[in-house]
């Protein structure tokens, strides 16, 4: 399985990758992108099985990435990992076709719970 982690903070990307490993998803091919625009390029070349994206990022935000992907009829499994999650954000995420949202700071347990559900 291929997982793409999209976050403008490299410290946060490292943390997500480590948490994936601790949640039992370490055996997968994990790639990284530093913003929505870079992620969109990468996904166009090769669609992963799962995208884990931050919401607030320069160049192209996480929600803009998701909306761009759905506009291109790409239905990759997509979840947000974000510090901010207002009602409006959750609504926009659902409308755009996101599968889940995890709030930061997150734990290994939250990754286990969500990923075991969406990846089955």
């Amino acid at each position: 399985m291929k997982i793409l982690v999209v976050d403008d903070s490299s410290a946060m990307r490292m943390m997500v990758v480590r948490t994936l490993r601790q949640a039992g998803f370490g055996g997968n091919d994990v790639e990284q992108a530093e913003d929505g625009a870079a992620a969109l390029e990468q996904i166009r070349k090769s669609t992963p099985d799962l995208v884990l994206a931050d919401w607030n990022m320069p160049n192209m935000t996480g929600i803009e990435l998701l909306e761009a992907l759905r506009a291109e009829e790409n239905d990759v499994t997509f979840g947000f990992i974000t510090t901010e999650s207002t009602k409006e954000m959750r609504q926009r995420a659902t409308d755009a076709g996101a599968q889940f949202l995890i709030s930061k700071p997150f734990t290994t347990e939250s990754f286990e719970k969500v990923l075991s559900t969406v990846m089955n």
Binding site: S9, S10, A11, M12, M14, I102, T107, T108
Partner: protein
């Protein structure tokens, strides 16, 4: 607009979302000051002070020199003493998620005001070893995390005053970038330590799986 006075009606407006932060009048500087407590942060576009008192906690003062928008946080990592100092930072230790979240929230809110991340100027303060019997060296761990985070994110540290045995009062002027540090006497240490301890136990008791939501 007239000059700022102790009358709150003359104080600059607060960015949405920061209404919960207490502001006080600073007669010495003739400016209002947003006073942040452990776990809080504040961002402003205005000429005002952001102030806090640090024991072993860390504050990052971050600003965009072009627009004068800036902010400050106040955080610590809960003290898991089973980890060696070298394991801190860089995502190698789960406790650092609190620090990463504190830094990220501050940086995101500054960027939302229209500032570019690569233009931001960063200063670090705190991480004192304020109690002689603090064998866990919480302050040093906090400093180590902050430095590793800053390095990983590609920021340069424009200035810092960290470590040492003193608690500190920090006054940050985001508009100019000036930071004034006052090292506090040991008389005040216990109250600061108590406040940080209560923040740390809040972190520990709020230990819950990061909130999750599965959409249909």
């Amino acid at each position: 607009m007239g000059a700022m006075t102790s009358n709150r009606e003359t104080w600059p407006t607060v960015i949405d979302g920061f209404d919960g932060i207490t502001r006080i009048w600073d007669p010495r500087n003739n400016l209002c000051a947003a006073k942040i407590l452990p776990g809080e942060y504040y961002v402003t576009r205005q000429h005002e002070i952001i102030t806090t008192v640090l024991g072993s906690c860390i504050s990052a003062c971050i600003r965009d020199p072009l627009s004068g928008v800036g902010g400050m946080n106040h955080f610590m990592l809960p003290g898991d003493t089973s980890k060696s100092l070298s394991q801190w930072g860089g995502g190698e230790c789960m406790e650092t998620r609190y620090g990463i979240a504190a830094m990220e929230m501050l940086i995101n809110d500054i960027i939302k005001q229209g500032c570019r991340k690569d233009r931001l100027e960063l200063k670090l303060f705190g991480g004192g070893k304020v109690l002689a019997m603090d064998v866990n060296n919480v302050g040093e761990r906090n400093i180590e995390f902050a430095r590793q985070f800053v390095r990983a994110e590609g920021f340069a540290i424009a200035a810092e005053d960290v470590g040492g045995p003193h608690p500190r009062k920090v006054n940050f002027f985001p508009r100019t970038g000036k930071v004034m540090i006052r090292r506090l006497r040991s008389l005040q240490t216990q109250a600061i330590v108590d406040q940080e301890k209560s923040y740390e136990s809040d972190l520990a008791s709020n230990e819950r799986p990061g909130e999750i939501e599965l959409f249909d």
